[in-house]
């Protein structure tokens, strides 16, 4: 049963450039996942999912955030073990207990964040952990030559002796791919590879993917972008709510059909009804021509009592916009007005707080909470900061504090317990109550339901709508499309560091997704 043990692994044969061309056209199934199920606590991440990929095929794996893509990939590369189901590689049954097992069977992955050494050369990176030696010494020349051969076979003009730091992000990604496949890879998983690339660079990546396909690799390609899926991929599998709902050749379906398969869920019972904001409600926040080193030409406004959604894929500038609205780091040019007055001082969290703005950051654990402190200490921190440092500790037992806890659905009796012991949903409520305690009128929420289970999500949605109905104005930045569509009174879509389009409430999800994905392959 132990997967890698019996596989014949010849570490360097893949570098000799003598792949048998007969194998390339075979088109046989390399990896087959049968009836995979995986449960995380109460959440069924995958349920009876079948997935297979064949030689010389680029197989798109799509689905919304939380649909189960990353879990499926983790099962495939041995990062997690499935609860049920089986995996075969080249018709032989295997069990991966560790990523190294999958690597030995020729399954490699390129993660979104690069796992490379910026200060080392390309060759050193490619051979990291598998250095060649001659007479006990590193064989630099040999590694350099072999890296050169690998890179040339991929039609890449990268000098193996340059420092990785000197390459562009795209170049570094190419090196990561070269590293992944340099040792007999049969299957390569690319996890949203274009998320961090500019359009031209994406083209280089697509060329590389096509080269690999010709060489007979199976490529699992995860992406949200329709254009890439239809230009590049041969086959597409759609996951929704942990199940595989569609698996077809891309030539057999249209983008509209694909998007429908991805979305299309019964939203009504999940999201509260939209608000009743009239078009002449006062504008509480207006950004004109906001720009910094990532963002440019940001023009947006927020009316009182409104939830304005901002949708953008990874790398669209959505995260940066959230930080910019919170002054950390802020806009370097352009103007921001709050409640009709010019807020030139929206440049540090402190001054944003003073302007009655509140902020829920993307990462609850890294940016939102001091986990080993109590609920009250976390929730009270901004208010105490506003009250003044040398004042006697602002009371966590006063009636208004307790009522805020109650209003967000936290048990006020727990207030002295460690926030680390709370569930994700309740932790998020603690972060939110920070700003209800400072009396913020404008709330900037970045991914407020990330890593939160379904029922807690619904509770947070209801809470947000209640707040908006009570007159708070909310900017909701998210990469989860159903959330944006289900919650927003108005929707901004971001791409390439700016807002590209505005949609009215309840807009068509497909149209929004198409807009956000853009046309990355329009060039070249």
């Amino acid at each position: 049963m132990a997967g890698g043990g019996e596989a014949e692994v010849n570490q360097t044969s893949g570098l000799n450039g003598s792949d048998n061309p007969a194998e390339c056209n075979a088109g046989g199934t390399i990896v087959q996942l049968n009836k995979i199920s995986k449960r995380y606590g109460p959440v069924m991440a995958l349920e009876n999912v079948d997935f297979s990929c064949r030689k010389g095929e680029v197989h798109a794996l799509v689905g919304e955030n939380g649909a189960g893509k990353s879990t499926l990939v983790k099962v495939l590369v041995g990062a997690v073990m499935a609860d049920a189901g089986e995996c075969t590689v080249n018709s032989r049954k295997v069990v991966f207990r560790h990523p190294a097992d999958a690597q030995k069977m020729g399954i490699a992955i390129v993660h979104q964040e690069l796992n490379l050494l910026p200060d080392r050369t390309v060759a050193e990176n490619i051979f990291m952990g598998r250095e060649l030696t001659r007479n006990g010494m590193l064989d630099r020349r040999g590694m350099s030559n072999k890296s050169k051969a690998v890179l040339e076979r991929l039609n890449l003009t990268i000098d193996p002796d340059t420092s990785l730091r000197d390459l562009s992000v795209a170049g570094q990604q190419m090196v990561e791919i070269a590293k992944a496949i340099a040792f007999d890879a049969q299957v390569l998983v690319l996890d949203e590879p274009t998320a961090t690339l500019a359009a031209d660079d994406s083209q280089t990546l697509f060329d590389l993917v096509r080269t690999l396909r010709e060489r007979g690799l199976a490529i699992v390609y995860i992406s949200h972008r329709m254009s890439e899926i239809f230009d590049l991929c041969d086959h597409v599998t759609v996951l929704k709510d942990g199940a595989s709902v569609l698996s077809k050749a891309t030539s057999e379906i249209s983008p509209e059909q694909l998007v429908k398969a991805m979305i299309g869920r019964d939203l009504e019972k999940y999201y509260p009804p939209y608000g009743q904001v009239s078009d002449d409600a006062p504008v509480v926040l207006r950004v004109a021509n906001g720009a910094n080193n990532v963002l440019h030409g940001i023009n947006m406004h927020l009316r009182k009592g409104e939830i304005a959604g901002v949708f953008g894929l990874k790398g669209s500038g959505r995260s940066e916009l959230a930080y910019a609205l919170w002054g950390s780091p802020g806009f370097t040019s352009g103007t921001v007005e709050t409640v009709g007055k010019l807020a030139l001082d929206l440049c540090t969290p402190r001054s944003a707080m003073a302007d009655a703005v509140g902020f829920v950051p993307e990462s609850r654990k890294d940016e939102g909470l001091a986990l080993s402190l109590s609920i009250a200490d976390n929730a009270m921190l901004p208010r105490r900061t506003l009250d003044g440092a040398m004042r006697h500790t602002s009371d966590a037992n006063s009636q208004d504090v307790l009522s805020v806890f109650k209003s967000v659905g936290l048990d006020p009796a727990d207030r002295n317990g460690e926030v680390a012991n709370l569930s994700g949903g309740n932790q998020q409520k603690v972060v939110l109550s920070k700003w209800l305690l400072t009396g913020a009128e404008i709330l900037v929420l970045a991914e407020p339901t990330r890593g939160v289970d379904v029922s807690a999500k619904a509770a947070i949605y209801t809470l947000l709508r209640q707040l908006a109905d009570k007159g708070k104005s909310i900017i909701l930045l998210s990469s989860e499309l159903p959330e944006i569509v289900g919650m927003s009174d108005r929707i901004y879509v971001m791409r390439g560091g700016t807002i590209t389009k505005e949609f009215a409430r309840g807009a068509d999800e497909a149209a929004i997704l198409m807009e956000a994905g853009g046309s990355t392959s329009a060039k070249g």
Binding site: D377, R391, H392
Partner: protein, 319 residues
């Protein structure tokens, strides 16, 4: 009372509270008991007060160090700052013996300046505090010796030394200083908004910054507190040890060990003033005990080394 354990901390039965009590109080009680058993004279009021009085500079220092530790850093400069202050006061008061209070004010001002310097170097120049304060350790030591020409010069007048030596109605002034300082520190750390900010900075500086906390200012104040505690400790030490060029040697690590003994978590976020005071008394008592048992003085270093490594390893394993 068969309440659910989660219901409310106010309704928790007494035994459960006892079991959650900081272990340092039990350690302290055990050490004191061992001392009394080894040498019954310590059961008397006089010798016990003497022991506490001797512990007072360490108590003050440990409490100051606690602020820096809670913020996530270390202050290793306090030992040589003590020496510097003692040598400086001796020189100043040698020529102007009547200006004791002016001299103390000057020393406190130096403490505030030294602390802000440490804090700014760490916060703005991003030098890790362990390196920054080790560098300042060298600088203060050199400065002290430079001022005094390499040997203990000058004299401390009795009014200055009274803080360390004298008693009021049989109660050492040094302990009054400790109590005043301890209550003040406990109020700042556990009773003000600043204290809450300090814990937040030590636990997650990024989250604190995004909650509007001025992280730089919070850190600088913590270092200032530590440096001022060194000045206070210097005044007490000058009182009962007199002038010497080695008066503060080793106190920085004793302060850290005492804080760790008192349950403060190195690298930030956890600690309490009363427990650290108990930790400082316990460490001093432990040294006294080692002394009674005939262990040579340098063994104290080894004991401290074992304390800090095992305390950190223990908290790493518990997580």
């Amino acid at each position: 009372m068969s309440k659910q354990p989660q219901t409310s901390s106010l309704l928790t039965p007494v035994w459960s509270r006892l079991s959650r009590m900081e272990p340092i109080y039990i350690i302290l009680a055990a050490i004191v008991l061992a001392i009394v058993l080894s040498n019954p004279i310590y059961a008397d009021y006089g010798p016990m007060m003497q022991l506490l009085r001797r512990a007072s500079p360490l108590i003050v220092l440990a409490v100051g160090q606690l602020f820096v530790i809670v913020s996530g850093g270390f202050d290793l400069s306090v030992g040589s700052l003590i020496t510097f202050i003692v040598l400086l006061s001796a020189l100043v008061l040698n020529t102007h013996p009547e200006q004791v209070y002016a001299c103390i004010a000057l020393c406190l001002a130096i403490g505030i300046a030294a602390g802000s310097l440490n804090g700014l170097v760490v916060s703005l120049l991003k030098v890790p505090s362990i390196i920054a304060t080790l560098g300042m350790l060298l600088a203060y030591r050199g400065a002290g010796l430079y001022l005094s020409g390499g040997s203990a010069r000058g004299n401390l007048p009795d009014t200055f030394r009274a803080f360390g030596r004298e008693t009021v109605y049989g109660f050492p002034i040094a302990l009054i200083v400790v109590i005043v300082f301890g209550v003040f520190a406990a109020w700042i750390l556990h009773g003000t908004n600043y204290g809450r900010q300090l814990f937040a900075v030590g636990t997650n500086p990024r989250a604190a910054r995004l909650s509007g906390v001025n992280v730089t200012m919070v850190r600088v104040v913590a270092f200032m507190f530590s440096a001022v505690s060194a000045v206070v400790a210097a005044i007490l030490l000058g009182g009962f040890s007199g002038v010497s060029t080695a008066v503060g040697n080793g106190y920085e690590l004793q302060a850290i060990s005492a804080a760790v003994l008192g349950g403060a978590v190195l690298l930030g976020g956890r600690g309490s003033v009363p427990a650290v005071i108990a930790g400082a008394i316990a460490l001093h008592a432990l040294f006294t005990l080692l002394n009674i048992w005939g262990f040579p003085k340098p063994m104290r270093d080894a004991v401290q080394g074992i304390i800090i490594i095992s305390a950190v390893a223990y908290s790493a394993w518990r997580r």
